[in-house]
Amino acid sequence: MSLRVFDAIARHKWRYVAFAVGFLLLVEPFAWLVKFAYYLQDSPASASLHKACFRMPIDWLLSGEFGRFAGRPFVVLFLAGVLGTAFLLGPVFCGWLCPVGACSECLSRLFPRKGQLDLSKRVNPASLRYGFLTAFALLALAASLPAITWTAGSEVRESGSRPIATRQARNLAESVGVGGVCCRYCPSSVFQRLVSGVADPSKLTYWHSGAIMTLGGWLVIGGILWKGGRGWCLYGCPLGAVANLFHWVGAKMGLSWKVVHDSSKCNGCGECKKLCPAWAITGGGDVVDINRHTCNVCLECTKSCPNKALTYARI
């Protein structure tokens, strides 16, 4: 087991250095990138991984609250960076920098692969992740509708009281409850709280049943019990799904760098398929198919291929 961990680190050490850099850039108490952005903005807001939230910009977009983007330039730049690099280079943020995915993947490597879940032959990971993404977008749309009603309601607001229609709309938003549910059950949020709790134990009061459920889903089922340890990334992460969609479009247009397979060099050993944490490599023998909808360009396959049949190139 320990040999497997050291082998993985030795084979691809720069990726693990990038994981550490991602942690330092985004996670409190370090969060250097977030702190730098807020320093430039001259804002005293506390810097944490939560400032790189993907859900809030979608809510603002759908509810027409465009003014909020101006107040949070870091979120805009972060998303533009993640999706722009996904279009041109593949989802490098997911495969190299994301501290949440890195944490579950590294944890997964500490446990024997034999007992881990491998559903890649039973279900299509791309279908599942886009199914969740569609649900995420529909719920964000549902939650944004009352916000539109709120704006309309405020125009006819009676003096000193809030119109009944507006109050009902707020209740509707609460009953859909996307915002609260997203934050309470978001692995990024839970991860940030976990790290903050290590630095300051008084913050460990956050550990309620919802957070423990999320921790179990993300780190135990999606990490320890999952082949590759990317269970949350593959099936639950909306940012990852959108990044892969951008990568797929970029690859289709011939603009994106991607992992490519040369069957003339392949000896069919299957090492790439065994090591891919994103279950992106399918096929048998020297016929290898790379799924752009799940590949996060971690390049574990190119590093492990004994004949260099897999390369990262722009073709």
């Binding site: 279900v123 299509n124 791309a126 279908s127 599942l128 992740r129 886009y130 199914g131 969740f132 569609t134 649900a135 995420f136 529909l138 719920l139 609460e174 009953s175 859909v176 409850g177 996307v178 609260g180 549910v181 997203c182 309470r184 059950y185 309620h208 049943s209 919802g210 957070a211 099936y235 399918t282």
Partner: protein, 70 residues
């Protein structure tokens, strides 16, 4: 992977992605045994049975074959 299996997985993910947040929307996370999450928790064994039914059925057949006279 057959195309139909892909669509089935998509619909499964869509329905569970819509259902889980709605089921949990009133859950404050501070477990006071309100029971809001009961349908979600109850769905886990159902899902496991659905996923395992083929394997379970083949196990039953194997057991029967070993017990029953040929």
């Amino acid at each position: 992977m057959p195309q139909r299996a892909g669509w089935t997985a998509f619909v499964w993910a869509l329905l569970s992605g819509l259902g889980i947040p709605i089921v949990l929307s009133r859950c404050g996370g501070h477990c006071g045994s309100c029971g809001q999450c009961a349908p979600l928790i109850a769905s886990i064994p159902v899902m496991l049975i659905v996923l395992a039914r083929r394997r379970a059925w083949s196990l039953v057949k194997r057991l029967l074959a070993s017990v029953l006279p040929k």
